[in-house]
Amino acid sequence: MDLNFTPEEIAFRDEARHFFRTAIPESIRAKVAEGEGLTRDDMITAQRILNARGWATVNWPVDWGGQDWTPIQVYLYQDEMQQAHCPAPIAFNVSMVGPVIAQFGSQATKERFLAATANVDIFWCQGFSEPGSGSDLASLRTKAERKGDKYIINGQKTWTTLAQYADWIFCLCRTDPTAKAQEGISFILVDLKTPGITIRPIVTIDGGHEVNEVFFDDVEVPVENLVGQENKGWDYAKFLLGNERTGIARVGASKAKIARIKELASLEFVGERPLMETPRFQEKLAAVEVELKALEMTQLRVVSDERKLEKGRQNPASSILKLKGSVIQQQLTELLMEVVGPYAMPYQRDFEGNNEPIIGPDYASEAAPMYFNYRKVSIYGGSNEIQRNIIAKAILGL
């Protein structure tokens, strides 16, 4: 047992640190740091820089552009990327549809999509959730009826993140209405330019537009857009959801938030003292730092275990990464709002586009929206309640 990084690991970390802080435009990283939304171009620019180096799809099979890294390297790559405020590669492309196609797609499908997906020549979005199917995903009702060499898709998807930026959507559709819940579902790729598709924005409580409703009205899709076998979509979806295991803790991103909070809390005053020098705030922040350090160690334990575990089995500790990680991210947004005090109040999104100066310190305007927006992290990707159900069953055997 040696909990220090090897010289090779340190060299790799420094290389990654240097790369992320020099290759990715400062303008883009600043937006991430301040919690400003990225434009479509920002995301594509950042990912293409990574992809040019082969660092956009490190989790993919090596033949299809992945890296043959140790789990520790993958961890360091994520950690440095997050600490440098670099936008992560687009999850829908890199963590979701890409691995599914690489694992289950036909040779033709792979050749048609994988390179384009890595380079964001296709920007993907995810069509899983439906109005009636949130936590209970298997109850989804969107139909894909086989008509000759086409599927006719009818139904509605919702919470579709960044559909407004996307070129294609990967959907779970019911292809066998007679089969029971988990069965009879297929994984189908749909070009959003296909007639019959309508996208409606959903504005969230922070005033932002990240998610959408996507309506399908007799949308015709060629059968070759089916991934893998018909009615096996549920297995592919489970594979997809099980994929993201460690990045989800967002330890690096939380480290970056802590650094930012310490910086800003030194600029805001309580009487004559900077907030950062008041014991109460120091201790509140330190309490979160302790939890984060513990989570980082937990994540490293999980990561360094991965080689040893046979596929599928999980280190019990892995189950807590999302639970704890989400809570820590949320607590940090609470502290950031406390830092800016009364200046959390002005709602400044309305000013976007016009050139009015920011009210209060320039770091204040996103504090409250970020707090509001981050309530989602304990809801999406399987709410923390669902996570606990899963852990109780899978890990504790209850």
Binding site: G134, S135, S139, V203, I205, P342, D350, Y371, I379
Partner: protein, 382 residues
Amino acid sequence: MDFDLSEDQRLLKDSVDRLVADQYQFEQRKKYMREPAGYSAAMWEQITEMGLLGLPFEETLGGFGGGAVETAIVMDAFGRGLVLEPYFSTVILGGGLLRRAASASVLGALAPKVAAGKLKLAFAHVERHSRYDLADVSTTARMDGGSYLLDGAKSVVIHGDTADKIFVTARLSGDRRSRAGIGLFLIDAATPGVARRGYPTQDGQRAAELTLTGVRASADDLIHDNALPLVEHVVDEAIAALCAEAVGAMQAMQDLTLEYLKTRKQFGRPIGSFQVLQHRSVDMLVAVEQARSMAMFAAVMAAEENPVERRKAISAAKVQIGRSGRHVGQEAIQLHGGIGMTNEYAVGHYFKRVTMIDQLYGDADTHLSYLGAHGGLFGKAA
């Protein structure tokens, strides 16, 4: 001791509750928000006709001499409706400052106008680095002949964009944080040198940044030349009012969440049938009831003349409201799931309002520090 409302209080409650129930449905509120002022002129009319604007003033001044309990009744209802009109800034802050700081003649001249809906007020005190310290005043008032010249900048002046007159704290003497020498001026918003920039707040209300450049104020405009203790009392009353509003908003979140748990189905059953969500709802109930109790406590103690006893009680209430509000708000969103995150649905707006109430006049931990440093609530030995 008696928690029952008097006949008059019950009538007041019924009428305000009805107003909110009939005219402040979530969809109606959206319309009001889109009006130029950021609130409904018609609603302001109606609030005026109901006589609510005169609440704190004596009948001789066109009011009905209501106290903290009457104010709490109104604010609780306004919290359930997320009311947008500038009642808090005009009646509770402005009216309070008039009653406690102004001369009889000024009060006599202005209170009836406020009661008649002809005069909207605001209170400007936040400065760039003052945070929640009312004594931290850098804005200056220099004697110049028989009058004063005011220079400085004030931030987050609630409903400062539509106020006709604005109360402003400015330093007559002493250094930046000294408690003495703080003057309270009442400035007409149209006075040359007054620049306002209005904007919406996170909770859908309005506020303004205020810049004062050589603003001339007459000796009469100086409402009080050592105003801090009075300002602090008014702010304590204002906090008590915000506590009541927050309780109304929490109750609404509790109701919306229960309703959702009973109707939303997943895995073939109402999600309210899941034991975990049942217990989480119970803990929400506990938080709401504890907050309600402390809002009542604040209403009683807002009139206390001993400033430390009053402030300790008000701080205790603000702590409870801040903590209950955060818990209830976060849980309301969490138990709703995705739908709770959308702007089209009401619960998130209540969440944002209680969140902003915590940022107003000191967040929970700021008040906890004060309470702790001043010996807490209970004596060493009864």
